[in-house]
């Protein structure tokens, strides 16, 4: 990568740190959570020092992730408000997926897909935290029917979340020039102009 002084700043260092804290938490949570979810993933508990440690750590990591996301949420909430343009974008997502993004409507800092993801993760995390507390036997006792419901919700949301994040990661890999935004904070002007032309205009004034 060649740094260009004219590259545009997409994320501040604080934002990036915040994001990666959440990201690491997510990976740990997914690994330990999957271990409890299906026997095929059980050996992943070894990454945490065994099943008991995985069980002990998972909820605490979850809390860290929830707090970390809360901070992200407060930072980016406004930017993720849905607009009619987003709706149009979403309705034409097929073209985007097919790689024909030339005729997509012009986007601000986030496109409709990203916004969807943002809200999906927010909802999932909220539900995960609530249902996770229901399951946290070391500190809480709830009526067993509620716990059972909690387990189903927790599992469901976790799966949705994992799928969502996979798409999120893939999208970052697929759309070249994206990763550096989270690693280094900057994107090229071309990248910005191509994918987020409205935002490009806002920051460049052109």
């Amino acid at each position: 990568m060649i740094r260009n002084p004219k590259d545009l700043v997409r994320y501040t260092p604080e934002e990036r740190a915040n994001h990666w804290l959440g990201g690491i938490c997510f990976i740990l949570l997914a690994l330990s959570g999957l271990a409890f979810f299906h026997p095929a993933f059980w050996p992943l508990t070894q990454l945490f020092g065994g099943g008991v440690w995985a069980r002990i750590l998972h909820p605490f990591i979850g809390l860290v992730m929830a707090l970390s996301f809360l901070s992200l949420f407060l930072r980016f909430r406004a930017l993720n408000a849905m607009t009619p343009v987003d709706k149009e974008w979403l309705s034409r997502m097929r073209e985007m997926v097919d790689g024909n993004d030339h005729n997509m409507p012009e986007q601000g800092k986030y496109n409709g897909g990203q916004k969807m993801m943002f809200w999906a993760i927010a909802v999932c995390l909220l539900l995960l935290v609530v249902s996770g507390i229901l399951l946290w036997r070391a500190y809480f006792t709830f009526p067993v029917e509620l716990v059972r419901l909690g387990a189903v919700i927790h599992a469901f949301c976790a799966v949705v979340m994992i799928c969502t994040i996979m798409v999120h990661v893939y999208a970052a890999i697929w759309v070249k020039g994206t990763m550096r935004a989270m690693w280094h904070g900057t994107v090229t002007r071309a990248w910005a102009k191509q994918h987020h032309r409205v935002w490009y205009r806002q920051v460049t004034g052109k």
Binding site: W42, V52, L135, A155, V175, K176
Partner: protein, 295 residues
């Protein structure tokens, strides 16, 4: 020196079948509530044999002590004073693990080998492998497993698997002074129970019957009840217990479905990448900006 394990029929969080060629007789405990005097010998014998000691509690206005199952009390007597049409009955039920044929605890347990069902029907916790998640509690339709505050492990009645493994009856059964507790093959126990039901019917308990709920595939702990039509009278014995549909959903088809879904997303992405290639910034745009810069 470890003893020979009992043959295993099912193991928690294990997707492959255990060795299952050997044929083992199913055992069962029968609790004949109609001859139980609630003396708690079974509770004492259980604590003594299993080297567990409950804390000394207080009297809360009933004979039930300890007042509930705990990690140190794997069986408790539950007393109910039932008065109908001026006739008082003191219904006393020994509560503890039912050793279900289809154990909800085992179904819910995520730790491989932490819950076993032996081929003789005993459902046993292996605390060594228990991670203390408490999912067994969620899976159990009888509210039996308890998580220890001390070590975070789940405990419940083992049906004295250590005694049964060497051909002895469980400690509670052996101690029972009136013979309200009996132990033998499940078939023997059913035969004996039927005999008791006949006697009870002759004594005027028209609805006497056997409690061997099919919702959990039958149990290896059965009751003879004078009022088999109303098991709830016996301190809330569930009338038609079964593993909760939520647990079925969670630990049943959701597991493979979700795994497939996640795999599909991953593989779909891969496929997309391979077929569509990366989404690069277009050459024209880059050139355009270079031109601008050059100006």
């Amino acid at each position: 020196m470890a003893l020979q394990s009992l043959d295993i029929a099912r193991s928690s969080a294990t997707t492959t079948p255990p060795p299952s060629v050997r044929q083992t007789t199913e055992v069962a405990k029968l609790i004949d509530v109609s001859t139980c005097i609630g003396c708690k010998a079974c509770q004492a014998a259980c604590m003594e044999w299993n080297d567990i000691r409950e804390e000394i509690g207080t009297c809360s206005g009933v004979y039930d002590n300890p007042t509930n199952l705990t990690e140190n009390s794997w069986t408790v007597m539950r007393f109910a004073e039932v008065e109908e049409a001026g006739k008082l009955e003191w219904l006393i039920r020994k509560d503890g693990c039912m050793h279900c044929a289809d154990p909800g605890c085992l179904k819910a347990c995520p730790a491989p080998g932490a819950i076993l069902q032996y081929a003789n029907g005993i459902v046993d916790f292996q605390e060594e492998y228990c991670i203390g998640c408490g999912y067994c509690v969620t899976g159990c339709p009888f509210n039996i497993p308890r998580i220890s505050q001390k070590d975070g492990k789940a405990y419940k009645c083992t049906l004295c698997s250590d005694r049964v493994a060497v051909g002895q009856a469980p400690a509670c059964i052996k101690s029972c002074p009136t013979g309200a507790l009996q132990f033998g093959s499940k078939e023997q126990m059913r035969d004996y129970a039927e005999h008791r039901v006949v006697d009870l019917k002759e004594r005027g308990f028209k609805e006497a019957g056997i409690y061997d709920p099919q919702g959990v595939g039958g149990t290896h702990v059965m009751y003879v009840l004078h009022h088999a039509d109303r098991p709830q009278l016996y301190n809330g014995l569930p009338a038609d217990p079964g593993i909760s549909p939520l647990v079925h959903l969670w630990k049943g088809f959701a597991k493979p479905l979700a795994t497939v879904a996640m795999a599909a997303v991953a593989l779909g992405s891969l496929y997309h990448y391979v077929t569509k290639g990366p989404n690069e910034v277009s050459k024209e745009l880059e050139d355009e900006l270079e031109k601008e810069d050059a100006l």
